[in-house]
Amino acid sequence: MSIDPNAPLTNEQLIKLHSLMVQGRVLEERLIQMYKQGDGYFWIGGPGEEAFNVPLGMLIHKGQGPEFDYLHFHYRQSATLLAMGADPVDALRQMKNTATDPYSGGRNFGGHPSIRKWNIVPVASTIETQYTMAPGTAMAQKRHGGRGITIVTGGDAGTAEGDFATCLVWSSRPMEPLPVLMIVTNNKWGISTAAAPQHGEKNVADRGRAFGIECKTIDGNDPEVAWREIASAMEYVRTTRRPFLLESIVSRLYGHSSASGANPVTDEADCLKGFEARLEARKILTREQMDSLRQKFTDELQLAHRRVREEPQPDGKTIYDHVFQTRDLVRGG
């Protein structure tokens, strides 16, 4: 089913978008609290990227196999997962590395999901490697036909890795252009290193031009802009079966990760604040409604945190489990 990118969002859609953005923010704040209370060894996530990540999740064609979108995410995508319908408690479980963590059984950091039934390939900490794998899933989709595309996300600093160039080259080969939506969320930082002194290119997206790849840099702090631009880029990739490079300017509201303290920053735009002011001005939601929504999510996740804390930790005896598969799951075996 195709979506008209230029159709304005209905009030109902705006309310849903807002609700998911709030839930996404509250989830990240809960994860940070878990870390600070000793209920997790490391936090990394996407507070400040909700205006982009929520529309992305809402627009993804979710399912298993080449008919649906393949997703090669990095570690700031929790709001996208929520928008796709993931249970936020599972993010808490991964944070607390419980045996019940459905993404990795307590093996991986929080923010590193893996869901085969939704084509979410295991998120790896290795910067940019996901861009080398995207052409493979996209190749399978191109042959399969239909509207399924491959979506790959990463930050701006990582584009200096050769793997980013790999994706540009492999997805734009004249003999077989591929349906890859390459996304770069540009927060202008790589941990503590500012982008400006390191990167001569004006926009990361400009790098697509040399390969004949459609590209665009957008304001990722505005969810309506993000919705329109993601929908339009997706529609292009779905129908032309060619790549698109979308750069989204976003904020990093709690720094890089717990390694840099995970404390709120005040000098970057907060997409949620901006959006809420707009919803209020347009009389779509009142301040009270928005406050009580936030309170509801906060309470829910606080309770969930308490519950997850009591869930079992994985047994050391399981370390050898799943090194090899006996069944060919991806081929339906």
């Binding site: 990795s104 893996s114 295991p122 080259v169 598969q325």
Partner: protein
């Protein structure tokens, strides 16, 4: 009798015809060349990739995750070193996702010395490969095993590495060890499946009707029985070990030779049974001695049956140097050769508690 490289090509043909292989790709893998070593000539699913090993491994993983069984080639293992983090990721798709994903791919690559390949076409990969867990790793020493091991890798639901010893690519099957279904002589087979020189655009191969052959994952072969010592090897050095053992028989030394064939998982039961019987173990391969897969096997041998041994386990491996020099004398001095293998076996047989 086929050569090892022809055996690889025939296995790939069988794999694309009967086992659902959708892609065979890498640098110069497709037409017109069909592989730097001709492994992929005439195959329907073979295609040329950009010159980008990380892209090759990443795309292979991506295809695999999307359910496309595929075989990707790294032209020389010397050029796989820049893909190691991707190999690590490929090997942990199942483990990191707690069993949610699998990745049915095969990476094949020529390894080792023996063709005067100089510094950057002579590296070995077995020590590195066996350090990357989550992969099954096969390394043949003869054409029939190459055929069967490659097919076994391809049908496995896990990522597999298929390491082809360059020195043995042109070696022929021993009598009685042919792949069934080839009823022509060497020249006849070459006419059927080797691409002609010059313009190949109108050429199509005539594939012999070869069967499915598999070697159970992790199963080694005892290629020579003996009572005095056990020699465990694989790849290029395996035939040398057999030759050395044959010549030592004249001196009254009977060496048992095991062809490991799978380095991961490996056939510890067979090694154990043999070494416990002979009391002496020699592990031979040509990767650099520090640190070496043979060292691991020697360590396990020492730890698990020290008191049953008649001599300290020995490892004969490549010199611990950055590369292999081009000149004849340099290459010969860098990796185990027939004389050094024979001597090592003789010394071990003579060593008394």
């Amino acid at each position: 009798m086929s050569s090892m490289i022809q055996a690889v090509r025939m296995a790939l043909h069988v794999a694309e015809e009967r086992h659902g292989v959708t892609d065979i790709f890498g640098e110069d893998v497709g037409p017109p060349l069909g592989g730097a070593f001709t492994a992929t000539q005439g195959l329907k699913r073979a295609w040329n990739s950009p010159l980008d090993e990380r892209g090759i491994v990443g795309t292979s993983i991506g295809l695999g995750l999307a359910g496309c069984r595929n075989v990707a080639e790294i032209q020389f293992c010397d050029y796989a070193f820049n893909t190691i983090d991707l190999l690590k990721l490929g090997g942990m798709m199942s483990w990191a996702s707690h069993g949610d994903w699998n990745c049915p791919i095969t990476i094949m690559t020529p390894v080792g010395s023996g063709i005067r390949g100089s510094i950057y076409h002579s590296h070995s990969f077995d020590a590195t490969a066996t350090h990357i867990h989550g992969w099954k790793i096969a390394m043949p020493s003869n054409p029939k095993d190459a055929y069967a091991l490659l097919l076994s890798c391809i049908v496995d639901p896990n990522p597999c590495m298929f390491l082809i010893p360059k020195a043995l690519m042109r070696s022929r099957a021993a009598p009685g060890e042919e792949i069934p279904g080839i009823d022509v002589d060497d020249r006849g087979l070459s006419k059927l499946i080797d691409a002609p020189l010059g313009d190949r655009s109108k050429w199509t191969p005539q594939w012999p009707d070869t069967p499915d052959l598999f070697i159970p994952v992790g199963e080694a072969a005892t290629v020579r029985k003996g009572r005095d010592l056990t020699v465990v090897s694989y790849g290029r050095t395996l035939p040398l070990c057999v030759k050395a053992a044959d010549s030592l028989a004249a001196e009254g030394i009977e060496a048992e030779v095991i062809d490991l064939r799978w380095l991961a998982p490996y056939d510890w039961e067979r090694i154990k049974e043999s070494v416990k019987r002979t009391g002496r173990a020699l592990f031979v391969n040509e990767d650099t001695e520090i640190t070496n897969f043979g060292e691991h096997l020697a360590r396990r041998t020492t730890e698990e049956f020290f008191y049953e041994l008649l001599a300290p386990p020995k490892v004969l491996a490549g010199a611990a140097i950055p590369g292999i020099g081009l000149a004849d004398n340099l290459e010969m001095a860098s990796v185990p050769q027939l004389p050094s293998i024979t001597q090592a076996m003789r010394d071990l047989a003579a060593s008394k508690p």
